[in-house]
């Protein structure tokens, strides 16, 4: 009861309406302002100075106290002005792998004549990115949000804030931008070899295991030719791997759900598939992906890799 009332109050007070598309103009109703701890201390010091001035009958003490009090009021207008009327829009967010940090780009446009200093963007109130927005200019600031799970990540409520010019006030606006970031499954560690490829021409060639084109790495097995060991990787202390080579585009590689052992869980399977997508992309073969409910047709290149990873990210069992 209380919680729901409080939420309603918050939603009304802070005008929380859920994600908004397009440009958000920070009109006065959207900008909130409160004194900071320093602002409260400053007011206390002013009260002390006022008492002193009355007690010692100091005319100049009155003048200084009142000047600083007026300064504090003035600072409030400045702090408010520093974020008010900014035009905020969400930019792109590049896909990331689960466990990485998604970086949401927010564009701030200042159409006014006053430069905006030290505008911060935060999603959790702990870490913030700062940016200055010169007069009649647009600046870009990023909010880094951890992406622990695959799927679609929304930034949620971001806070745009400032304490400029004197740190006595904190002015902020809540941003619920219609942005999202696709979070790919975290690829499994390399090692499990790619499933066998089929020859597109139907010539029955098993897998384009040849000598011409580098196709990826696999864990070193006893008996592999020393000529094929990836020494550069070994030199980086990452273990012994054997380079695999393949014949080219005449092979088709299907990466499918049932090529994986049944004992693996869904997320583990997705991880392994993500690894295979990356490996297949690296070999340059044409490959496709088939998971329950979704099929990505055979193709090559970066677009194909991204399509496949996106399919894995959005997989719903």
């Amino acid at each position: 009861m209380y919680v729901s009332f409080r939420n309603q109050l918050y939603n009304w007070l802070f005008q929380l309406r859920g994600p908004e598309a397009g440009v958000i103009v920070l009109v006065q109703r959207r900008v909130f302002i409160l004194p900071t701890g320093h602002g409260v201390i400053f007011a206390g010091v002013l009260l002390l100075m006022l008492t002193g001035s009355i007690n010692y009958n100091l005319s100049l003490g009155f003048i200084l106290t009142f000047l600083l009090a007026a300064l504090q009021v003035n600072a409030m207008i400045y702090t408010f002005r520093n974020v008010a009327n900014l035009r905020v829009s969400g930019g792109r967010a590049r896909p990331v792998y689960a466990g990485d940090t998604a970086r949401f780009t927010v564009n701030l446009e200042n159409r006014g004549e006053a430069e905006r200093y030290s505008i911060g963007l935060t999603h959790d109130g702990k870490t913030a990115e700062f940016i200055d927005v010169p007069a009649r200019a647009t600046a870009t600031v990023q909010a880094g949000i951890p992406a622990p799970r695959r799927g679609i990540l929304r930034p949620g409520r971001l806070t745009l804030f400032t304490r400029y010019p004197l740190g006595l006030y904190y002015a902020w606006a809540y941003l619920e931008l219609d942005m999202h970031c696709i979070v790919y499954p975290r690829p499994a560690p390399p090692g499990v070899p790619l499933p066998p490829a089929l020859s597109s021409a139907g010539e029955g060639s098993e897998r384009g295991q040849g000598q011409e084109d580098f196709a990826g790495l696999r864990q070193y097995h006893r008996g592999d030719s020393p000529r094929h060991i990836a020494w550069k990787v070994a030199a980086r202390d990452q273990g012994l791997f054997t380079k695999q080579f393949s014949g080219r585009s005449d092979t088709e590689l299907w990466l499918t759900w049932d090529q994986l052992p049944h004992r693996l869980g869904i997320e583990e399977k997705l991880s392994q598939l993500a690894r295979w997508v990356l490996d297949a992309h690296a070999t340059g073969v044409s490959f496709g992906l088939r998971v329950p409910g979704k099929t990505v047709e055979i193709a090559t290149g970066d677009v194909q890799r991204d399509l496949c990873l996106e399919a894995l990210a959005l997989f719903e069992p």
Partner: protein, 652 residues
């Protein structure tokens, strides 16, 4: 900076240090030398540590220094409270705080304490110079505070000074409103420390030859007087102060106040004037002989001294009337007469013998007085501010018969002693004589240098009569002021010298400014506040009505200020063509046909024509006009007018 725990850069620490040093600088002359040394050492150490990126000293070391410094202050001032000790403690604590200043929060705290340190300076001086200097300090501190809050790129120093200056300048109107309208109460709210006021100069309750000479070297202003009519002639300007009744052979002293109602007979119309008295930490109020009324919160004594109820610790103002031609004291009681005749036995034997000799020659008191004055006038007596030192055992003898040079206090002291020895009741009156008319502001300035001592003798049937023996020796002193009277070789403040006319004009201008400052700014009392409000039509201003007026004015100022400042954040479109077209787009948007941000005017028009054929004609016409005006080379004017008309008429 985002976080109060954000580390401060060395640059900011130096800024803080400079700001605080500027504010503390006027205190240095009042602080013990070891404390100044300690503060300088601590500050230098802090900058060195910051420069060398070394860790700041640990807490224990700082606590030790705190204890040491506190003990030092205690031994120096014998207290930890009060004005001087308090300032000393504040200064040393600021230096210590600087030494543990690591993060933004510490920096902000130092800034607040810096503002507080500014106000402590006003305990010692509130002159225009102090005010301007402290304004500059406030500017530096505010610039520092602003500088702490740039999280990306800090603008150059000049730009930051300008930003802080603009902040302060924009705060001035509200400051004035608060200053004028904040309900004033007369302080103090609680007992002030013993040393709250100090260092003021003025007359004292005793007079030993030599004591006034320190005053005559002072260029300080004792009080200023604004006369309602003309300034009386210099010969009549005897400003009455402490009256000395008791003489121990060397020193004259004023008894504790003998309260009573002074009675007099006036022989001339009254003179009205207003005195603005500088603080002198004693209770005397000064008025022309003889005061015709008693100012509020003051008392009068039977010998026409005026006492304020409280020592004059602040500049005060009072209205006075005086009668310059008067007689009083014809009926004096026996105690007073005996007191005015008392002389210590065994002192100054030659004076006593001389008095007996005079008495033998002159039966009439008046004739005796004239004989003494004639002696002063005709024999080789000199008026000088640098008299030879007198021996301690018989100073009057030595002055009258050997040294024969001195100034007002020597003459009045010797004269009064001589009168008493001859059986004429006499007393010494100290105060000021003369004054300097500031022709620019048409008021009279009385300096400490114009301190004077004269005598009053009691004559049967006439009462107390003023006799100024100094006038006999040096008529110029009374008629033209001290600068004309003393030899050129005597030390006197430069300003008192009359020779430099240009300098004098400059000094008059400055004194006028200072006086206006004193009256308007420093003398803005609860009474003045009521007066000001009654002038704008608010009579009987109470605490409540003042608050209401103040809040209303504050709100108005904040609204105006906000309007002015928020104007800068809106985009400004000056192009009338664009304004008209944007209005057209706005109308369409309201009708649910918004223009896509990437859509050109022509494409928009075509799309509209498709979806709303009824609007096609109007939309096409407006778009054609807009494109022509915008991109074509047609002269604006007729077409612009048409565009505006069409937009106004347009309805979607």
């Amino acid at each position: 900076m985002t976080d109060v725990k954000q580390p401060l850069r060395l640059r900011h620490v130096v800024w803080l240090l400079v700001g605080l040093a500027l504010v503390a600088a006027p205190h240095i002359e009042r602080l013990p030398w070891w404390l100044t040394g300690l503060v300088v050492t601590l500050s230098t150490w802090r900058v060195y540590l910051g420069h060398a990126s070394l860790p700041l000293p640990g807490r224990w070391l700082l606590i030790l220094v705190v204890i040491g410094a506190t003990a030092g202050v205690y031994f120096n001032y014998r207290t930890l409270f009060g004005r001087d000790a308090g300032v000393a403690l504040l200064v040393v604590m600021l230096a210590l705080k600087l030494l543990e200043t690591r993060v933004l929060r510490d920096g902000m705290l130092l800034i607040f304490l810096g503002y507080f340190l500014v106000i402590t300076n006003f305990l010692y001086s509130q002159t225009i110079t102090t005010a301007l200097y402290m304004l500059a300090c406030t500017w530096v501190i505010t610039t520092t505070m602003n500088g702490l809050h740039y999280s990306r790129r800090e603008p150059p120093v000049i730009a930051r000074f300008r930003a802080a200056g603009v902040l302060l300048a924009q705060s001035t109107p509200l400051m004035l409103v608060l200053f004028l309208l904040f309900p004033r109460v007369t302080g103090p709210l609680w007992g002030l420390p013993q040393d709250a006021y100090g260092g003021a100069t003025g007359l004292s309750e005793t007079m030993t030859p030599g004591s006034l000479s320190s005053l005559t070297l002072s260029d300080a202003v004792a009080f200023r007087v604004k006369f309602d009519g003309n300034v009386p002639s210099a010969k009549q300007l005897y400003w009455r102060g402490p009256v000395m009744w008791d003489f121990d052979g060397r020193t004259w002293s004023a008894p504790r106040a003998l309260y009573g109602t002074p009675e007099f007979t006036a022989h001339s119309p009254p003179v009205s004037y207003e005195v603005t008295l500088e603080p002198h930490n004693k209770r005397w109020l000064f008025a022309l002989d003889v005061p015709g009324k008693v100012p509020p919160r003051a008392l009068a004594s039977a010998d026409f001294q005026l006492y304020a109820v409280q020592p004059v610790n602040n500049r005060i103002r009072y209205e006075m009337t005086s009668f310059l031609d008067y007689s009083y004291g014809q009926v004096e009681d026996g105690i007073a007469i005996r007191r005015a005749l008392a002389l210590p036995a065994g002192f100054n034997p030659r004076t006593a013998a001389f008095a007996r000799e005079l008495r033998a020659q002159h039966q009439n008191d008046r004739a005796l007085i004239q004989a003494v004055l004639a002696k002063f006038r005709n024999e080789r007596f000199f008026y000088t501010l640098t008299p030879p030192l007198l021996a301690m055992d018989h100073p009057v003898d030595e002055f009258l018969f050997e040294a024969r040079s001195g100034f007002c206090e020597h003459y009045s002291s010797a004269f009064a002693a001589l009168m008493r020895a001859a059986g004429i009741p006499a007393r010494v009156v100290t105060g000021y004589q003369g004054g300097e008319v500031n022709s620019l502001g048409n008021y009279l300035i009385v300096h400490q240098a114009e301190a004077h001592a004269w005598t009053e003798v009691w004559l049967r049937n006439e009462g107390w009569v003023r006799v100024d023996p100094t006038a006999a020796v040096s008529p110029l002193r009374v008629e033209s002021g001290i600068s004309a009277a003393v030899p050129r070789t005597d030390p006197l403040p430069l300003f008192v010298r009359a020779e430099f006319e240009a300098l004098r004009q400059l000094r008059f201008t400055w004194d006028l400014v200072a006086n206006t400052w004193n009256q308007m700014v420093l003398g803005y009392t609860p009474e003045r506040q009521r007066l000001l409000l009654s002038r704008v039509g608010i009579d009987d201003a109470t605490w409540y009505s003042l608050t209401v007026v103040m809040l209303c004015a504050t709100v108005i100022i904040i609204i105006v200020l906000s309007a002015v400042m928020l104007r800068h954040i809106r985009s400004r479109v000056h192009d009338p063509v664009k304004i008209a077209y944007l209005r057209f787009c706005e109308k369409l948007q309201r009708a649910g046909l918004p223009r896509d941000p990437a859509e050109g005017p022509v494409a928009y028009s075509r799309r509209l024509a498709g979806s709303r054929p009824d609007l096609e004609a109007a939309v096409t016409a407006i778009t054609r006009l807009y494109v022509d005006l915008r991109y074509g080379s047609v002269p604006e004017g007729a077409e612009l007018r048409e565009l505006r008309l069409r937009v106004r008429a347009f309805a979607a």
